[in-house]
Symmetry: C2
Subunit: 418 residues, 2 copies
């Protein structure tokens, strides 16, 4: 008998019919002899409605205001947890709903984006021992002063993984509306393959690069506590024990270390280039300090020194939404270093090649550049990490580039024969 | 500086605009120098929606099921309390939302109709001392096993009065969509007058007789703990300190003990008469025991013995909804005493004359009978208590009877001169 944590997102519990479907999945695992802890999100649309109510009465600028807002917003998950527990009881499966404070899931007091401190296991273990399924409201906890906190958007993934770690669960199954993690976005790459396994670090790169399957923080947590996480579909009938989805595992446990595991991309990129900036110590801090102070996230940074070494060209990327504010700052902030010209380009996109196998396989970068060159795609910026190579290109080439790279790295699914 | 408890019902907090209006009322009392505890219901319609969800997945037959349902339903008040606290903060008034478990409001574990055991005051007193307004989710508490309970429909009134008692509040203002308690239903009696004061026991009779202004249990609680309760309108601009509504007070504190304070009525009555029942000890128990066992509430009971004393005619009333089940039982239950015939009448109504002054003023009953006789209204059943006389009449005469009695007892409002 193993302990399984299951997490169901908003679309999986969108209405009463779907909650009934979810209950059959929970019961199937329970009937297979497992103890089951379920973590649920709010019914699709409910959180948005509650957040909208809050913003109609408050700017939510102060932590004290966000505390009252969390009190409102956390109600969404509370409702779903009670309803799923009720449906399980109707199927003859004893079940109990748990709010965050009842577990208790202790967090800090940074309301609306609280971080988990500690999770009590005693009460729920007693409930599981009685044969009950525990149905936990995700996304929420209790602060040191005894108030309701929420963990930020997507926080139910984080709840689920943290709970799986605290209860030393055999596996944490994240049920969603896709059936796993793919080599690339199946909406663009028809030949994208579902991955049987993906390393935590690879998933982290993919998650932070726009793959919406899992929240970044939940992947970090899974990596730190070595939680075996499976991403799988609520709408597939294969039992979760058979691992129909994608399993997040430790790099060492990857059966086959691919050179390249997947391709991620982001359209939400804008480029800013400053030419002929005076090249002296502190110039980067002078530029990026003020941007960070305004909460503007800078992603890729490239610096080229001119021939005489006295001046430098500096290129960096921000999100498209931040571009106007960033530009305003660069042009008008008195603290900014002098430069000759400021160029911007809001029509760029980033493509990343990800794979732990890169570490031992040379030539991944060279192959990327050659493939793009063959398609006459110009590379604007290059940035690399141990398991990732990212390039910035003209946004209009994004599909072409993804397809070419997907084939070049041998990621295409083998077509089934008729 | 006094401590005031304010309670706002579902129509008073129906949407964001109304919540904003409520916040101005709270702030007005706070600005007048009072400490304020607010108790709120769910936004109109929310509780029904949540109850409907629950009934779609559960029969709610077992207490364990009702526990999970309470987890769902209590979310409604939680949402309102957070939103009102947020709006108060936006008006510059520090405020904190409280769920039942945070107070804590301890109740028993009869889920969906829990009774309050004890209310902690320490945490909220500390919050009040900091200058905050406490905005409490009504209708809910926490059971001995640490689960969320609800106090049953209308339970927010009960929460408010119990909290006023626990915190020894100066006054408990129940804000609603009417501006007080009237001598009779203003929809029928155009000349109905708003009462400045009403005794607890009178209010109890009025509440249990269908006046929907206050929940019966909250009036009992107010009477037991001598809580000064004011019923007043959310939509009136007079400050509550000026007592624009109706004050519930101890009988001894009534400024003027009217012979008759008000007229109540109920259309939800059905009559059953059993003729020539054998008159022997235990015959009443034989009839009313089985009815009570099936949860059928019997209201008025009248028994007449026949001339020879051997047989008796028995008349009693039930609600219209219970009539078919009651009739089935009376006719077919083998435990029922034999009788000659069973007559029923679903077209009856009950009118009650209420007033603590009856105790010292003779002739109230006689005046009632004379007034009805003058209008040729036949009395089917009479039942009396210390401060109430009720009669059962043909339903079609109800408006006529109410108007005639209202005038006869001198309750009509003096018409304003132009």
């Amino acid at each position: 008998m193993a302990l399984i944590v299951q997490k169901f997102g908003g679309t999986s519990v969108a209405d009463i019919e779907r909650i009934k479907r979810v209950a059959t999945i929970v019961k199937r695992d329970r009937d297979a002899g497992h103890q089951v802890i379920v973590v649920v999100s709010a019914m699709a649309g409910v959180t948005n409605q509650l957040v909208d109510y809050c913003s109609q009465v408050s700017s939510l600028m102060e932590n004290d205001q966000r505390a009252n807002a969390d009190h409102v917003v956390a109600a969404g998950e509370q409702i779903t947890s009670g309803l799923l527990a009720l449906e399980l009881q109707s199927l003859g499966q004893p079940a109990r709903a748990w709010a965050g404070w009842q577990i208790p899931l202790h967090s800090d007091d940074m309301y609306s984006k609280a971080r988990i401190d500690e999770i009590g296991t005693e009460a729920i273990n007693a409930s599981l021992a009685k044969g009950e399924v525990a149905v936990i409201a995700g996304f929420q906890g209790i602060s040191p002063e005894g108030r309701i906190t929420t963990l930020g958007r997507g926080g139910s993934d984080t709840s689920a993984v943290a709970i799986a770690a605290a209860f030393k669960a055999e596996r944490c199954d994240i049920y969603t509306d896709v059936d796993g993690v793919y080599t690339s976005d199946p909406r663009i790459i028809k030949k994208a393959r579902k991955l049987k396994q993906v390393g935590y670090e690879e998933m982290l790169e993919m998650a932070s690069l726009g793959s919406k399957v899992l929240q970044t923080r939940s992947v970090e947590l899974a990596m730190n506590y070595r939680v075996k996480v499976q991403v799988l579909s609520t709408f597939d009938d294969t039992p979760a024990d058979q691992i129909p989805g994608t399993l997040l595992v430790d790099e060492e446990d990857l059966v086959e270390k691919q050179r390249v595991t997947g391709l991620a991309y982001s359209r939400d990129e804008a480029r800013i280039t400053l030419t002929n900036v005076e090249n002296k110590p502190g110039v980067s801090a002078g530029i990026f300090g003020p941007l960070a102070d305004r909460g503007i996230n800078v992603d890729m940074i490239v610096q080229n020194v001119t021939e005489d070494g006295k001046q430098t060209d500096l290129t960096f990327t921000v999100t498209k939404g931040d571009l106007p504010r960033a530009l305003e700052l660069v042009k008008n902030d008195p603290a900014m270093p002098k430069c000759e010209k400021v160029h911007t380009d809001g029509g760029v996109a980033k493509i990343s090649v990800i794979g732990v196998g890169m570490r031992s396989h040379a030539g991944v970068a060279a192959e990327m550049f050659r493939t793009l060159a063959e398609k006459n795609i110009n590379i604007i910026v290059i940035s690399t990490s141990e398991i990732k190579i990212s390039v910035l290109i003209d946004e209009s080439y994004i599909e072409l580039a993804l397809r070419a790279l997907h084939t070049a790295y041998g990621l295409d699914a083998v077509e089934e024969k008729n």
